[in-house]
């Protein structure tokens, strides 16, 4: 079986690389949210909102990679 390393395959690899950073970022944000909620459960609502904003900002990078994989 012939394995063709085409430009299309490289785009997918690029998307995979672009997903590493946001994955780590969202993980760290979720860790921070959990720890903070455990310390001060009464602030949970505001902490969760902030977590969602941070996760959205980090996720934007992964989504950019996803879009670029299609349009490049």
């Amino acid at each position: 079986m012939e394995i063709a390393l085409t430009l299309d395959a490289l785009k997918l690899v690029g998307y995979g690389l672009a997903a590493i950073g946001p994955g780590l970022g969202i993980g760290i944000a979720c860790y921070g949210c959990c720890v903070a909620t455990a310390r001060q459960p009464e602030l949970q609502g505001r902490l969760f909102t902030n977590f969602i904003i941070g996760a959205a900002l980090a996720e934007a990078l992964a989504l950019l990679g996803f879009v670029l994989a299609f349009i490049l």
Partner: protein
Amino acid sequence: MNPLEELANGVTHLQHSFDSAYVVGPVTQYIVWMVVCLAITLIVVLVCGRKLSLVPKNKFVHMVEYGYDFVRKDMGENAIGHGYKKHVPFLATLFFFILISNFVGLIPGCKTPTGTISVTWALSLVSFVYFNWQGIKAHGGWGYIKSIAPSGLPKVMVPVIWFFEFVSLVLRLLTLAVRLYGNMFAGHMALGIFALATTVFLQSITSSIVGVVGIGWFALLLAMYALECLVAFLQAYVFTILSAVYISLATSEH
């Protein structure tokens, strides 16, 4: 035939089933399902609105009111804060429509309207125009442009930070659309592949013992389905709360 080869053939067929196909004239199957979801949303809300009373006794009314209260408390009051009341109808409309669209897609045989980029693009455009319009109403045109950069920065840094904030503002249009589309499309694709693998392997059970793997695929399919139910709710929630946060960022005094 080797089950793996059959699976590879089936996957191409599966991918084509996600493409927009014309049903009548310029109307694609996604538009049909969008109209169906819109009708369901309207019926649910209108029927509930008809039966409103001070102390709800009906279970259905209770359910819809709980959803509205969820939008009002969790998204309005928590995310927007002061002056949230006038934005609640907009947020509730977004939340109910996206939630119903996502859940309709989980019924076998139905398509989710949010699984195509055009519908999510339109939704994110509505949200984008709305929060910018609210920001312009709150600060005035020039004031809104200035308020994109947070106040209290050193004078030299203002243009640089303004530029980055502006890029991230424009990217909100893209990220809102692609997040919803990507999650729904990828989830349904994964469900489709697991369902396909289950059928292919279970059908080959008569010819080879390998077919027993099909039971494992079926268990995986059920687990994935449960996960997709969570994702369907979570994506509706995330879309609405991000709209709320963007509104609060645009209208608040920095």
